[in-house]
């Protein structure tokens, strides 16, 4: 995996709360056997009407959303199904970070393993970001801070090992495999 470094991008805001992984990528697109191309169906039923035409009022269809790599969403983003297709679809669309006051456990875990950074912020920060879509933010994983153009800086929590893996491009499977001897010893004891 490529190391995750500091980056700057404008935001897209989706203020809805409890956005579940069925909205991010509906189950009917899960009959795939690869990870590629899921971005085409990201938020499918919010982005397109029943005839497949883009809904002009949906934020991702607006011209100003093009190229935005940070999604700011209402609380409890990514709840529901464990489908890793959700972070795959967000990444394929171009997102590198999701900002919310709460992010569901399995989605957060899946995101970290793919280089999509879950950023948990407090309620006032979230409310400000949701109220100011298109804001340019800088996210620095090394210092776990998010910098606003106004000069404000907000720190966010990241599990220490996940941070280490993302910063250094270490993959967790490699780490687990490096502990094979201990795993063998454990199996002999069991």
């Amino acid at each position: 995996m490529e190391p995750f470094t500091t980056f700057t991008s404008r935001t897209v805001a989706l203020p809805a709360t409890n956005i579940d992984t069925d909205q991010i990528i509906p189950a009917r697109f899960l009959t795939t056997t690869t990870r590629a191309g899921l971005g085409a169906h990201l938020f499918e039923d919010w982005r397109y009407d029943e005839r497949g035409a883009p809904r002009a009022d949906f934020v991702l269809n607006r011209p100003e959303s093009a190229g935005c790599r940070i999604l700011v969403a209402g609380r409890n983003f990514g709840c529901g199904s464990s489908r890793e297709h959700a972070p795959w679809a967000l990444l394929d669309h171009g997102f590198r970070a999701v900002v919310s006051t709460e992010i569901a456990d399995i989605f957060r875990n899946n995101s970290l393993k793919n280089g999509l950074l879950p950023v948990i912020v407090d309620e006032p920060t979230s409310a400000w970001l949701l109220g100011h879509p298109g804001t340019e933010l800088t996210i620095d994983l090394a210092t776990t801070t998010l910098s606003l153009p106004t000069g404000g800086r907000v720190s966010f929590p990241v599990e220490a090992f996940a941070q280490h893996c993302l910063l250094n491009g270490v993959d967790e499977l490699g780490y687990l495999l490096s502990r094979t001897r201990e795993i063998e010893a454990f199996e002999r004891r069991a």
Binding site: P15, A16, T17, N18, D20, D22, Q23, P26, A27, R28, L30, T31, T32, T33, T34, R35, D45, E50, R75, N76, C79, G80, S81, S82, R83, E84, E102, A104, D105, I106, N109, N110, K113, N114, E159, A160, F161, H164, E172, L173, Y175, L176, L177, R179, T180, E182, I183, F186, E187, A190
Partner: protein
């Protein structure tokens, strides 16, 4: 295997890894790319349920699987299991079924085990006192290759329920009431232990219904301490320990329950007698009311307004008597034999409403055979319902079984998210009793009126 430190998570050894056709293909691809093998094929079991059709003609009759991409996914699971030496309960196996129904059915789900699967409803297996939770596909690859997962210790949440559930009030109503209290994010970061006299009085099928929906409150896992009910359930199962190994296992399992006076990070208490049959009105499982209650007024709450708009329901109206187009009895939440029995008890000697579609989908082929041996299939067919082969079916609309756009479905499944049962589908989650009663009337019905 190794405890957590400030810098590194714990390395958790997995005792049982269940896999299925939808969340495993990319994990096997990762193994091939890195020339890895499956470390413990003997602790891994595969089946197919999510994108697998439920029509008998497509399962046994040689008719092509209608969704070509689903057919490819099924063939790929067959090829992966053959290549990596993983046991597969395949399309025509008598032991196939929904992954969370066959684990307990076979007796593979046991107290004290760590159990994972690439599916969020893996929490179901916690009903026997196992630590069971859903993982993503990258972690499926981790477990296939190393039998281990990196995990931080979760916080603990005790849900204590005391008293007796009323007539017509089921485990499904209990868990919907719990989610209504906790909210859909209330359990984030926690494992729930369900405790108290009400939980102790539940049978194993009912405990599984409760643990199944822990994830709908945001908790990755839910569990019930093992007891005599658990041991009696597991004893006759084909893959439970046998003979001396059984005695040894039960001895170990008796040490598992939480200590008296154990302290939890959080606690929630409920009075069972106050719980009524519950039904959801909105677009997440926390949007739930008693079947005697009313749809909320939207006021200034944008979340409620959005849900009401999607559902097309009148704010402030009673939920009872809302028209219903489809009834679905099935899913890992409510497709065990006791669920089918309770739906059949309502339907026996009755017909479903004119114009309504009803699908009854047993949770496993074994459940199907048992139900047919009791004549439950005849009850459903004579009432006007369809009787299918096992699978996830209408719970998630990716296998050919869907609720049409705009229609209302009373469903015994676990998620009422927008489009969950098909694009534009409107889902009301309820118990098998409430679903069957609503099928008879063609309207949302309090099952106590038909018992």
């Amino acid at each position: 295997m190794a405890a957590e430190t400030a810098a590194t998570p714990a390395v958790l050894y997995i005792d049982l890894h269940l896999i299925h056709e939808v969340t495993s293909p990319q994990a096997f691809t990762l193994l091939r790319e890195r020339a890895l093998s499956v470390r413990r094929a003997d602790l891994t079991l595969a089946t197919m349920d999510h994108s697998t059709p439920t029509r008998t003609s497509q399962v046994f009759g040689g008719a092509p699987i209608a969704i070509e991409s689903a057919a490819r996914q099924i063939r790929e699971l067959e090829a992966n299991c053959a290549q990596f030496g993983v046991e597969l309960l395949g399309l025509t196996s008598e032991q196939r079924g929904i992954v969370h129904i066959i684990g307990p059915d076979l007796g593979l789900t046991q107290p004290g085990k760590t159990i994972v699967c690439g599916d969020s409803h893996t929490s179901t297996h916690g009903a026997v006192g196992a630590l069971a939770f859903g993982i993503g596909t990258t972690e499926v690859a981790h477990v296939l290759a190393t039998q281990c997962l990196l995990q931080r210790k979760p916080r603990t949440l005790a849900v204590e329920v005391e008293g007796t559930l009323g007539a017509g009030v089921t485990a499904k109503d209990l868990i919907l009431a719990i989610i209504g209290r906790l909210g859909v994010a209330g359990g984030i970061g926690h494992v729930i232990e369900y405790r108290g006299s009400t939980i102790r009085a539940l049978d194993m099928d009912e405990r599984m219904t409760v643990c199944n929906m822990s994830i709908e409150a945001g908790a990755r896992a839910g569990m019930v301490a093992p007891d005599e009910t658990t041991y009696a359930y597991l004893a006759p199962r084909p893959r439970a320990p046998q003979g001396d190994a059984w005695e040894q296992a039960v001895g170990d399992w008796r040490t598992l329950p939480s200590d008296a006076g154990a302290r939890y990070d959080r606690e929630l208490r409920l009075d069972a007698a106050a719980i009524e049959p519950m039904i959801t009105w909105g677009t997440n499982p926390g949007m739930v009311v008693p079947v005697t209650g009313s749809i909320p007024r939207q006021g200034s709450d944008a979340v409620i307004a959005r849900a009401l708009q999607y559902m097309g329901l009148e704010p402030g109206a009673p939920i009872r008597d809302q028209p219903v187009n489809v009834v679905f009895i099935g899913s890992c939440t409510n497709a065990r034999l006791s669920d089918l029995r309770s739906a059949a008890a309502v339907l026996r000697g009755r017909r479903i409403a004119r114009g309504l579609t009803m699908l009854v989908v047993p949770g496993s082929q074994q459940v199907k055979r048992q139900a047919e041996a009791e004549g439950l299939d005849r009850v459903f067919l004579e009432a006007g319902a369809e009787w299918r082969e096992s699978g996830c079916s209408m719970c998630l609309g990716m296998n050919g079984d869907t609720v049409p756009r705009g229609e209302y479905a009373v469903s015994t499944s676990n998620r009422n998210f927008e489009g969950r049962q098909g694009a534009g589908a409107r889902t009301l989650l309820a118990s098998p009793l409430t679903a069957a009663a609503s099928a008879v009337r063609g309207r949302v019905t309090d099952p106590r009126e038909l018992l």
